[in-house]
């Protein structure tokens, strides 16, 4: 067994202990989980909603709902469980946004990661991020959620099935269709893909 896998196992054991204590009602332990997961949860909400204010609300609602429900957490992937609550919070926010029919004031742009942050790279990355954001926004909600969970949040298919609340077959289908849709939308920007 190598050193990296031992460290991962240690982290998993520590997290399981924190979850166990949080389930018993320890607020400090729950807040440790919040600190651990607030970045991926906020990013999921941001990618789904494209509105930083709504994403902030959805993320806060996610953790409040999770705190209320954690006593009923019955094991399995905590991340997938939390993302399911976050997905529901996002759908609620999407409904609210649709009712209000507002356009986000802050035009969020996805920033691309690059090891070479020259000005030219920054401009290209900014443009690329903008195109991907528009393409993601054009996808149906279910496909967008599946693609974000897989390609941006890095969940495996089983965790995605748990987070979305559907079968593995549906997950595969949504990811496949979502990626193909994105590819088609981005195709006219062929230079981004070459």
């Amino acid at each position: 067994m190598n050193k990296t896998s031992t460290l991962v196992e240690c982290d998993t054991m520590v997290e399981e202990e924190i979850i166990r204590r949080a389930v018993q009602g320890d607020l400090d332990c729950f807040n440790q989980l919040v600190e651990l997961y607030q970045r991926p949860v906020y990013n999921l909400c941001l990618r789904m909603l494209s509105d930083s204010g709504a994403a902030d609300d959805a993320a806060q609602e996610t953790f409040i709902s999770a705190y209320r429900a954690i006593c009923r957490f019955r094991g399995g992937s905590f991340k997938a469980w939390l993302f399911r609550i976050a997905s529901n919070a996002c759908y609620d926010q999407l409904r609210a946004l649709r009712r209000r029919r507002t356009t986000p004031l802050d035009d969020l742009t996805l920033e691309m990661e690059s090891p070479l942050p020259t000005p030219e790279d920054c401009a290209i990355r900014h443009e690329m991020g903008e195109e991907i954001k528009r393409a993601l926004d054009a996808l149906p909600h279910e496909q967008r959620l599946a693609v974000i969970l897989r390609d941006i949040e890095g969940l495996d298919y089983t965790e995605i099935a748990q987070a979305i609340g559907c079968s593995l077959g549906t997950v595969k289908s949504r990811i496949n269709r979502g990626r193909a849709g994105l590819r088609d939308i981005l195709r006219h920007r062929r230079e981004l893909l070459t």
């Binding site: 607020l27 970045r39 529901n88 609210a96 691309m112 298919y157 990811i175 990626r179």
Partner: protein, 213 residues
């Protein structure tokens, strides 16, 4: 050619799981074998891989603030689940009861112990007639005049002509029907209102239970 197209469609459905390493070994061999021969599927695989590569370069944004919970969480804004369930059950019960009363009323089951009914019409005459005549006498043997005299002599029963009612029944059927209708509509309306309110508040009533499954 048709067979070939079907095979390509099947392979295309497996391309994303193939990229993610989520395919069984036998399917991996199938995909690799097909892609080596089929140019269209190879192009599809390449373009999907490039799209995935782009998506995976998307950076994570730091949250603008911490979402830690400072103290006790305020009470849920939506209606608690047991109360909501009770409201729905009461609504269903009122509707069923209303349906029962309607059916019973239509079939004339609200005749009192002394043979009174609220709504009497020519159609009801036969059944009422049999209830006021002595056992053993056929309906056909009782003429309208006999019928009226028999009813007039019956204590506590007053019958007018046609479909009018002279005396109120011991069963306030109409009031019961109106009351139940109002109750059913009010309960159903309250259920819908609280359901919508809980959604607008951003908290779905069943979210916690669903998520914790």
């Amino acid at each position: 050619m048709f067979r070939k197209k079907n095979e390509c469609d099947k392979i295309k459905e497996m391309l994303s799981p193939y990229i993610d390493g989520e395919l069984a070994v036998s399917d991996v061999c199938k995909v690799e074998g097909h892609v080596a021969e089929c140019e269209a599927c190879r192009a599809e695989l390449d373009s999907l891989s490039e799209t995935v590569g782009l998506l995976r370069q998307v950076g994570m944004v730091e949250p603008p603030r911490s979402f830690t919970i400072a103290g006790p969480v305020p009470a849920r804004r939506s209606m608690p689940l047991p109360a909501y369930a009770a409201l729905r059950a009461a609504s269903a019960f009122a509707t069923l009861l209303l349906a029962f009363v309607f059916i019973a009323d239509a079939s004339g089951a609200f005749g009192g112990a002394d043979g009174t009914v609220l709504n009497w019409s020519d159609q009801d005459r036969g059944s009422l007639c049999s209830s006021v005549t002595e056992p053993g006498i056929n309906e056909s043997d009782v003429s309208s005049a006999d019928y009226l005299s028999a009813n007039e002599s019956a204590e506590g029963v007053g019958i007018g002509t046609g479909s009018s009612v002279e005396k109120s029944s011991t069963w306030p059927v109409l009031q019961l029907e109106i009351g139940l209708s109002v109750a059913a509509v009010a309960l159903a309306g309250a259920s819908v209102f609280f359901r919508r309110r809980s959604r607008m508040a951003g908290v779905r009533v069943e979210i916690d239970d669903e998520a914790s499954r």
